[in-house]
């Protein structure tokens, strides 16, 4: 008996992207909804009847009715696929929470909600052991019950859960995780489908994070995937195949600059993307040390790049600017030079609380002097 299904998670439908301009945010929100179609088509192409979504289907507990309705409509459009939805920490199954609303509104027949930790036979010989999040923050390993959950002999056991695996995420903002790294073995699971980690990542032989199908932030991992899992029989190792699904590419670059030419690489990359650059979000974290002249050129270059991609965020706070004699000569003679010298002194004084503003003023002077010179 073989069972093939699609493992996804962290759709975060309804994410608002408040940190972006309104027009940029609208497009990104829409892209998350479009993920459903991408997954539906992928399932159809691979003759897959079940899609397991391991939590965080919704980005927040309180979403507009229209958003929830839009998702359910899209899910219902793929009648041949059964969507198994699990509450995550972003959309926990709290009393009167978002899932109560979904239930009250009514879900399409091909949508199966797993709001309680109860084994469910989702296909002949296949038992799903869901571990829904019941609160925004849990203090226990919600998958622990799977160890003692009895299922008829010979059935494939698939766990579906959302949360961190102990010791998996070592970043500072991680809570360390609560799910046992040996849960799949301890609970005799043929596969444990996890959500929460937005990158596609294997935890153990039978335990994976699928990651989010559509990236939603500048990543530390590798988002934009779903996983096709095939299990030949109970007790056999799963065959796992990741597929790329992302529409937008979120790219974070940390560059150490010594001149504007050091941006040529990213410029060329964007140039080669052509119109596809519009589906790129780039975050540049620039450091190093450049001249005032180069700093101005870098600002121009960033403006050019921003015009080509969907979003460009540039963090220049670590980019140190030094004012050279050439810069000062460019600014001019006489009064302008005097002004430049005074600003330079203020900018380079480590005890001056306005040093940052003075540096900015120096850049403004540089630009204005070129502008005025050009006008003349």
């Amino acid at each position: 008996m073989s069972f093939k299904f699609l493992h996804s998670a962290d759709w975060h439908i309804g994410k608002t992207y408040g940190g972006f301009d309104a027009d940029q945010a609208v497009v990104l929100r829409q892209a998350r909804l479009e993920t459903v179609a991408t997954l539906g088509h992928l399932a159809t192409q691979h003759d897959i009847s079940h899609v397991l979504v391991a939590g965080d289907v919704f980005d927040a507990p309180g979403l507009e009715d229209a958003v929830v309705r839009a998702l359910l409509v899209r899910l219902g459009q793929f009648e041949q696929v059964t969507w198994h939805l699990l509450p995550g920490n972003h959309d926990p199954a709290t009393p009167r929470g978002i899932w109560d609303g979904v239930v009250r509104r009514g879900v399409p027949g091909n949508v199966s909600l797993h709001l309680e930790a109860v084994p469910t036979e989702i296909a002949p010989g296949v038992m799903l052991l869901p571990a829904p999040c019941l609160a925004k923050k849990s203090e226990i390993d919600l998958t622990a019950w799977m160890d003692t959950a009895e299922t008829p002999a010979g059935m494939i056991r698939i766990g579906l859960a959302h949360g961190g695996v102990i010791g998996f995420d070592t970043s500072e903002d991680s809570d360390g995780g609560l799910i046992s790294p040996t849960r799949a073995q301890d609970a005799r699971l043929d596969y444990l489908a996890l959500g929460d980690w937005h990158g596609c990542k294997q935890v153990s032989a039978a335990c994976w994070y699928s990651g989010t199908p559509e990236p939603d932030k500048f990543p530390r991992n590798e988002p934009g995937y779903v996983i096709i899992v095939e299990i030949d029989d109970a007790g056999t190792a799963p065959i796992v195949t990741p597929f790329t699904t992302r529409k937008f590419t979120w790219q974070e670059e940390a560059l150490t600059l010594s001149s504007v030419d050091d941006l040529d690489g990213i410029r060329d990359v964007v140039r080669q993307l052509g119109v596809a650059a519009q589906l790129h979000l780039i975050k540049l974290s620039l450091s190093g040390q450049v001249t005032l002249s180069d700093r101005t050129a870098i600002a121009d270059r960033i403006e050019d790049l921003a015009a080509q991609v969907h979003v460009l965020k540039a963090d220049l706070k670590d980019l140190k600017v030094v004012t050279t004699e050439t810069d000062l000569q460019t600014i001019g003679e006489g009064e302008l030079r005097d002004v430049a010298d005074r600003l330079r002194l203020r900018a380079e004084d480590p005890t001056n609380p306005e040093a940052r503003i003075a540096a900015l003023a120096l850049q403004k002077l540089f630009i204005a002097s070129r502008s005025a010179g050009g006008a003349a």
Partner: protein, 900 residues
């Protein structure tokens, strides 16, 4: 530049061509009447340099067209950059322009080319407006040159900013500042464009827009946070309600409530029935209790009497035995008492005898010491008596002697003073010495006696020397103040000395001193005597006399008892050979007697107690016998007593059984009826159960209504997606705050830049004004010596300091302001001239408000200025300007076609 000639035709009042020729390029003066056309000539001069030949400007060219019509023709000869040029412009109609090189005698350019060439001559390759504007001072114009006059300020600023840019002020800086200002204009209000100003966001500007965007995000966030909190609160309330409904409506809970009500009702009804039956049962129970009480009383009384009798018999037997014992004890104690009394009496007799022996032996032992001490004390008393007698004699002597030490000292002091004063007076008195001639011996008489040869004496009063046959010689001692005072003091001292002698009762001071010495000797002897007495009897003679008396008595007593002592010593020589043995025996006997006395006392007490107990027991036995007799008389015969007791016991058992049955009945009823508290509680429980059922129904009804309302509200909130909006608002606020920060940083940077530029410009102005002030100084020395002019930031004149008084420019008189305006222009002119670009200063009817003295000073200033650059003065005041030196110009006719 120097003007050489001016020619006009059909210009203002000059329909005919006229010319001012012969300018020297130094001080050129044209004096003409009012209406002579001076202002017209000045305007023509300004126009030809500032307006293009093709200009149709009504204010400038149009104003020159004569009332009768015509086309202004203006021609000017001038020197500039080493060239002599002639510029001719035909305005208004048939326009043309021509620039002619007078040296080369050829046309340099015509029309537009002429204008271009002229511009080059005037301004070189520089930018900006002509500096010439500064050097036209129209009639009355200086008065309008106020520090706040914008036109003038602008003119000065332009001249400084443009004309001197290549020298000190970077011209590019203006362009940069405009760029900065242009950007800042989009961000801050107009007031913020000034250096060091407080910058506020320009309404609808970029900064303002970002701030409003941020504020809107904050408002939205606040709104959604409030709504979210509200929804959360509703949700909490709804969940509480649902839990409450579930608790209340649960079947088990409902059954429990109805069961509780039914049970309470049943319990209450049972209690009410039992309470009715209980009243009858209580009465029956009371009667049976009374029966029982009677049976118990009869039984108890009989049993009690039997017990009492038995007890009396036992007590009587015990008392009889005890009486027997006590009587025996009393007899034993009496015997002991007798024996001890005899022992004590015999011991007492031995003690008396032994004490007598001890006293006798002690008397003998003390007698030797007492006798010796008696003799010592008697000798000492004898010496004391002799000393007391001597002291008495000395005291008598002293009482008779009045020469006390204080009087002797006072006398000695007075005698010394008298001696000293007398010595001084003697030394001061005239001394008379007699020395006769051989033939005149003993002829001098004094005080009735003949003075001997060589006799010498002093006098202290008038002395008359008699020389018979010759006459009298009177000698009078001098009467100085010292002598008078000494005499007065001498008399006083003598008086005091006499008083002292009188008190001592002598007249001769020597006697007084002798008596004083006798008194001193007696005092010393008395003192010695008293010391000795004190040593002999420290506690006084009487104590010694008392002691002597006591010793005498002891000695006498011993002597008297000496025979008895001897006989006693002989009698007890073996038993009590020494005083110590006798004393030891006395102490032993004392101890024995004390012990015997204590034992005697103890046995006496015991005897008395035994006697008392015997008496009490005899009384007790009698009392018990009497009681037994009384009780026996009350009871039946001994044989009938057991039967009566059995009968009473049977009656008691029957009564108790009956009461027990009644008790059980009552108890059973009580259990059902309960106590009053229990009954009240049962009533309360029933009523509470009833109320609870009703309340739960009402609460359920209300909860269901509330639930419905909250569900509706929550559904609305859910549909509005408050949670998602909240998240979005938070992100949007952060995003907008970043945008605000960027703009705020830009504003701060631009502002800082503007402020720094202003600071640098100020420095430049300061540098620039330095040569101006230097150029101005020679004129100030002439017109306002010692005064100082200060320029404000906009280069206008701010204030004049004279005689240490600061005068704001606005407060200065018209005449002075006009003079200052002209001098400042001459100061600028000197700067230009020093820079190799001399420009003419043209003054139209100047110094209209100047008094004669100031006029003269200004004329001198003109003359000084004219050495650096050309000064052209046009005036209508011929007399006033007569003193002004310089080249006098005259208006002449001109033939336009006659020129080159």
């Amino acid at each position: 530049m120097k003007l050489k000639a001016l020619r006009v035709r059909e210009v203002g009042r000059f329909s005919q061509p006229v010319a001012l020729e012969g300018f020297t390029g130094g001080l050129d003066v044209f004096v003409g009447d009012n209406e002579a056309g001076k202002s017209t000539l000045v305007k023509a001069l300004k126009t030809i340099f500032s307006e293009k030949y093709s200009s149709k400007n009504q204010k400038t060219v149009g104003a020159l067209v004569p009332y009768a019509g015509g086309a202004p023709l203006i021609e000017v000869d001038f020197e500039i950059a080493g060239q002599s040029l002639r510029l001719t412009k035909q305005f208004w109609s048939g326009t043309s322009a021509r620039l002619f090189d007078l040296t080369a005698g050829q046309v340099i350019a015509r029309n537009a080319d002429a204008e271009t060439a002229l511009h080059k001559f005037l301004h070189g390759a520089g930018r900006g407006t002509s500096p010439l504007g500064l050097f036209w001072l129209d009639q009355q114009e200086p008065l309008s040159l106020k520090p706040v006059d914008k036109d003038d300020q602008s003119r000065l600023r332009d001249v400084i900013a443009n004309q001197f840019s290549d020298v000190v002020v970077g011209g590019e800086a203006l362009g940069v500042r405009r760029v900065i200002e242009d950007r800042l204009k989009l961000l801050v209000t107009k007031g913020g464009l000034v250096a060091n100003a407080n910058r506020k966001p320009l309404k609808n500007g970029d900064w303002d827009a970002r701030l409003r965007e941020r504020d809107a995000a904050q408002i939205d966030l606040n709104k959604f946070e409030a709504r979210y909190a509200e929804a959360q609160e509703r949700l909490r309330r709804l969940l509480d309600i649902e839990r409450r409904i579930a608790d209340l409506a649960a079947p088990a809970a409902a059954t429990q409530r109805t069961d509780a009500l039914a049970m309470a009702k049943k319990v209450l009804a049972g209690m009410q029935g039992a309470r009715a039956k209980r009243q009858t049962a209580v009465a029956e129970h009371g009667a049976k209790l009374a029966d029982l009480k009677n049976a118990e009383t009869a039984h108890m009384k009989f049993v009690s009497q039997l017990d009492q009798l038995a007890k009396l018999e036992a007590d009587l037997a015990t008392a009889t035995e005890e009486l027997q014992r006590e009587r025996q004890a009393a007899a034993t104690a009496s015997e002991k008492l007798k024996l001890l009394s005899e022992e004590h009496t015999s011991g007492q007799a031995e003690l008396v005898v032994t004490r007598s022996v001890e006293e006798t032996l002690r008397l003998e032992q003390n007698h030797a010491g007492d006798a010796k001490r008696h003799d010592e004390v008697a000798a000492r008393i004898r010496e004391i008596d002799a000393l007391l007698k001597k002291a008495e004699q000395l005291e008598a002597e002293l009482r008779d002697n009045q020469a006390t030490p204080s009087r002797i000292v006072a006398l000695e002091r007075e005698l010394l003073s008298i001696d000293q004063i007398e010595a001084r007076l003697a030394a001061a008195a005239p001394e008379i010495s007699v020395a006769y001639e051989t033939t005149a011996s003993d002829r001098v008489l004094f005080d009735g006696r003949t003075l001997a040869e060589g006799e010498t004496f002093r006098i202290d009063q008038l002395a008359v020397l008699m020389i018979p046959g010759v006459g009298k010689i009177s000698v009078k001692p001098g009467g100085s103040d010292d002598v008078v005072e000494d005499r007065r003091d001498l008399a006083a001292h003598r008086e005091v000395a006499a008083e002292v002698l009188q008190k001592i009762a002598v007249s001769d001071p020597d006697d007084a001193l002798k008596i004083g010495k006798l008194r001193a000797d007696a005092e010393r002897a008395l003192s010695d005597t008293r010391v000795r007495l004190s040593a002999l009897a420290p506690q006084g003679p009487e104590v010694l006399r008392d002691e002597l008396g006591q010793l005498a008595e002891k000695v006498a007593a011993y002597k008297k008892a000496q025979n008895a002592v001897d006989s006693i010593k002989t009698a007890v020589a073996e038993q009590l050979p020494t005083l110590e043995a006798a004393a030891a025996r006395v102490r032993a006997l004392d101890g024995q007697q004390l012990d015997t006395a204590a034992a005697l006392e103890k046995i006496r007490t015991e005897h008395a107690a035994a006697v008392a107990r015997v008496a009490r027991l005899e009384a007790r036995s009698e009392e018990l016998g009497n009681q037994q007799a009384r009780l026996e008389s009350e009871l039946p015969d001994t044989a009938a007593r057991d039967g009566l007791l059995q009968k009473l016991q049977d009656a008691l058992v029957a009564a108790r059984s009956s009461v027990a049955v009644a008790d059980q009945q009552l108890k059973d009823l009580d259990e059902v009826a309960g106590s009053e508290t229990t009954f009240v509680t049962a009533q309360a429980i029933f009523e509470k159960a009833e109320v609870q059922v009703r309340n739960v129904e009402r609460e359920l009804e209300q909860l269901r209504l509330d639930k419905k309302g909250l569900e509706g509200e929550l559904t609305v909130a859910e549909q509005q997606g408050i949670g998602a909006h909240l998240q979005e608002c938070r992100e949007r606020l952060e995003h907008t705050e970043q945008r605000v920060q960027r703009v705020a940083d830009e504003v701060a940077a631009l502002a800082m830049l503007l402020d720094e530029m202003a600071a640098v410009e100020q420095q430049s102005r300061d540098r620039f004004l330095q040569p101006v002030m230097i150029g101005l100084q020679p004129y100030f020395d002439l017109v306002f010596p010692g005064a100082c002019l200060r320029f404000s930031q906009d280069l206008s004149m701010a204030e004049l300091t004279r005689n240490n008084q600061v005068e704001p420019f606005a407060n200065i008189s018209d005449g002075t302001r006009e003079q200052l305006a002209i001098l400042v222009r001459m100061g600028f002119g000197r700067v230009f001239a020093n820079g190799g670009q001399p420009l003419p200063l043209v003054l139209d009817d100047p110094l209209a408000f100047s008094d004669d003295s100031r006029l003269g000073a200004m004329f001198q200033a003109f003359e000084v200025a004219a050495k650096a650059h050309q000064v052209v003065v046009l005036s209508c005041r011929e007399q006033a300007f007569e003193a002004l030196q310089g080249n006098r110009l005259t208006l002449t006719s001109w033939r336009p076609d006659a020129g080159a």
